[in-house]
Symmetry: C2
Subunit: 376 residues, 2 copies
Amino acid sequence: MDISSGLEDVYIKHTGLTSIDGEKGILRYRGYNINDLVEHSTFEEVAYLMLYGELPTSEQLRTFKNSVEKGYLLPDYVKQIISSMPREAEALSVYMTAFAAMSASESNFKWSPQTDKAKAAEIIGHAASVVANANRHSMGLQLRDLAPSDSYARSFLEAALDRKAEQGEVRVMDRALILYLDHEVPASTTAALVACSTLSDMYSSIAAAIAALKGPLHGGAAESAYTQFARIGSPEKVDAWFNENIVEKKQKLMGFGHRVYKTYDPRMKIFKKMATDIVKRDEDRNILLTAEKLEERGVEQFGAKHVYPNTDYYSGIAYRAVGFPVNMFTALFALSRTTGWVAHISEYNESEPRIMRPRALYKGPGPRDLAPVSHH
Amino acid sequence: MDISSGLEDVYIKHTGLTSIDGEKGILRYRGYNINDLVEHSTFEEVAYLMLYGELPTSEQLRTFKNSVEKGYLLPDYVKQIISSMPREAEALSVYMTAFAAMSASESNFKWSPQTDKAKAAEIIGHAASVVANANRHSMGLQLRDLAPSDSYARSFLEAALDRKAEQGEVRVMDRALILYLDHEVPASTTAALVACSTLSDMYSSIAAAIAALKGPLHGGAAESAYTQFARIGSPEKVDAWFNENIVEKKQKLMGFGHRVYKTYDPRMKIFKKMATDIVKRDEDRNILLTAEKLEERGVEQFGAKHVYPNTDYYSGIAYRAVGFPVNMFTALFALSRTTGWVAHISEYNESEPRIMRPRALYKGPGPRDLAPVSHH
């Protein structure tokens, strides 16, 4: 009996959501190239595409946006819970806590293809409201529900940052939402599927996904990459830093490498362009130039081994330029990915749902007698 | 490429914790038969055995109990969060929420064989405090930390039920804690492992496990079995109910069947004896007699197909006799299993931890061009 270490090459479901060509660096959602979707569609349209299989008509889009906007309102007890969290809590912990709490109203959850889609849309709305309020809470601002606007990205940004958002910022946020929306079945999505396979409710399943995303090997990558650029400090220090830490000390280069992509991640190129277009402050530009210089050195060193910068390499720079603190990066990733999680959960429940019950191979002491312990 | 539906027969790790002989109906923790452990050991001793590999000396046991008792104290913000939950919330949702919230103080979590064990003991203490307070909250009582006593079971019971516990009740609680402590890698434990495989923290990983346990196909079984007995109402109604619902309508008999056991679950026999010994009120005895009569009919009908009553069949009757409401059953299961979760998490992190990244097989539309949507 072999152990399927890391579940590598174990196929846990069929999917019609996302396909990845890791050799050529192509990512598609339901057959559409990610580059085309970012260019021509909004987050709401892509979310609809993922849940329903096709891009929406105007009428379908309107109905869908209404359902999402219902989710902008959070139950009072959830706001009270967010307010009770430590001010310095990671935004992702706040997000997980709020969703765990909302599972309380789902005791009689019944899966059905009809109600799941409405529930999914409401959850996408709740997610934006929770994550925006996690940022408000960390800034010491009073919590408030999101206000409907022309776009999900705008409603989210204006609540999270407590100010009007410029059109360029809204576009970056909207595209980031599309880029991180889904990526097949990484650990977080797998955790969601394991939870929903017991017929657990959708909020709980998302809490499970967030728990898995929280690990530095998964959702924490954008933060690690950004922190690395900040630590280096400026482009002219890249060479010395790289020689010392990567070449000599063999440390891991953050934001490089992916189990599936063997070339440039197509999302990384889009994030790089967005970051380049949006940075304004000198400080942000300095980080960007540092990252670019480091990318060159990294590709020189590792490109031959098919290790390239991944999607998390530039995303933090774009998020930071829009106005988010570093400890929000993973929560912003989670906000995008929530749509992928609910789409995978729906897809699993509509196919042949089966409880996930793997095995462990026993390798321990054989049968032994118990000598009763003398101290009681 | 085949889909590993339900991850059946996929081995995700080695374990030295639990071995099950499903044909003979034998369950062992680290080589010791579950019957011997229940007879001769306390929950604290068995928890130590699972975490450290051997039963403790008196000195080791004292140190371990001290670490667990540290966990009896909950941070204030966690108590505030429990108090904010709806009064009617399922206790398991309260448990998941509190653990998600405690992940906030674990941003800099570093796994290490040394610190993990101390953390695990504290978590076992926190778990009892959270679950006891979930019951207090549902009864409208003020929350309070657990008080150290001669046993974990007693400290938990007296806080949860807000009264002194009798020796017989403590013994039932202690044994129930041992019986549900671990069972290899069911969905909940798998969710915990997927989460911790990203180097996420222990609180988050347990929140993921609880999310999976919440499903009616997993942790909800004791509640379903008990509710079924209550619905039938009395032993003399069993035959007619069985003929109509199970034989004719082919409904599922709750509390029967298990993917691994093909005969009596050894834990079920112990729970049956405990329930028989502890029931006092006429109402509880009536449910017990109904369950026994139903067991007979069920085994007559399904025994030849190797379908027998499982551990959840009588556990609810024992819990109810001790004084817990039905909506606490799944949380009581979770409280026991928390030790199994932390033991599996530690074991995974000490072996060859690898991020769980399975695949999904794409079965959807081929590459297609995007006709930009006209409405914006």
